[in-house]
């Protein structure tokens, strides 16, 4: 297993994990979001657009990290909001709208993958290797550029990536992840540990 001695001198793992702050846009209408939800549920498209603008970045982030492709993530993001428009009249307000939307986004991404598997489209094999072979190795031009966490996540095997994103990025518990992915809680924990070890190896290369 790689150790700190293998990294470039003077550069810590923490440095490679440094994140760039970003500005999150928010709805500019001035109306409370609950009002937008109620009006959108009644068919008000302008209110729904306000909800879209308030939540699109988070939904898109989830889609990108779960599916590993920015192009596909934009398609999925649109699918999420179209589905949200259809289901909004059923939203009871038992949870926050953001929680409801987020859970819907996870379902859309997972169902899209199931559909792709059924249709025989090019799909990622959950069990292919351990993902490390896909990571840039020593001696390659990228050696001078430290792989950042975002790029390393995208290179994870799909099963490990999904669990890592849902647990460490999005904050779901293993019991919830197990239910969403149709696996056991123990399986979810194992995938998470595997993902963290792979990321550590990638970030230390």
């Amino acid at each position: 297993m790689p150790t700190t001695d293998d990294r470039n001198p003077g550069e810590s793992l923490a440095a490679s994990l440094a994140v760039t702050p970003t500005i999150v846009e928010s709805a500019a209408s001035g109306r409370p979001m609950d009002d937008h939800v109620a009006r959108a549920a009644s068919g008000d498209r302008r209110a729904f657009e306000a909800l879209y603008r308030a939540h699109v970045n988070r939904v898109h982030s989830l889609c990108v990290r779960m599916c590993g492709s920015r192009q596909r993530a934009e398609e999925l993001t649109q699918d999420v909001f179209v589905r949200a428009w259809e289901k909004l009249p059923l939203f009871r307000g038992e949870s926050a709208f953001s929680t409801w939307l987020h859970r819907l986004a996870v379902n859309v991404v997972l169902n899209a993958r199931k559909a792709e598997r059924r249709d025989g489209a090019r799909m990622e094999d959950d069990e292919e290797g351990d993902g490390v072979d896909a990571l840039p190795s020593r001696g390659v031009a990228r050696h001078a550029e430290r792989l950042d966490l975002e790029a390393a996540i995208a290179l994870l095997p799909p099963g490990a990536r999904r669990v890592f994103v849902l647990h460490d990025v999005e904050g779901y518990k293993h019991e919830e992840i197990a239910e969403m992915l149709g696996v056991t809680s123990g399986g979810s924990k194992a995938q998470l540990h595997r993902a963290r070890l792979l990321l550590r190896e990638a970030l230390n290369r």
Binding site: M1, T3, T4, L13, A14, L17, V19, T20, P21, T22, V24, E25, R45, F48, E49, Y52, R53, V56, N57, R58, H60, S61, V64, R65, R70, A73, E74, T77, Q78, F81, V82, W85, L149, E150, I153, F164, D168, V169, G171, H174, K189, A190, L192, H193, R196, L197, L199, R200, L203, N204
Partner: protein, 153 residues
Amino acid sequence: MTMPITCDVFEARLADWLEDALSADERAALEAHEAACAACGTLAGELREIRAAAAALPELPPSRDLWSGIAERIEPAVVPLDAARTMERRTAHRARRWGLAAAAAALVIASSGIGYGVAMRRAESRYQAALAERGSAGSAAPAVSAAPSRDSM
């Protein structure tokens, strides 16, 4: 006193330790090993850093505004007014044509039915007449077809 553990045991229990899923005794054993073993200490520290960095990842905005694509899909189909009027006229014209065709067909059927009925009654009359003649003449009645002749139709 905490029993010392090996690096293999430490790595095997590390995932549960990071999930706070260990007993107090197990936790103490791993903490002791972490403090005593540089390699395992580094491993645990780096996994914690990854977990923390993941939780702090920023949101990723899409490369473009996706709203127009969404709006198209949630908008009900709208037919332009001129096209709507054209469709209405075509529908009405089609209905009139079908109505006329239906009326003509009904007329043909009705006349056929009337013609057939008249022919049947005529055939019956001839048959009755033939029977009457036979009865009065005491000879075999001529063979009369009950089916209407082409001429009677």
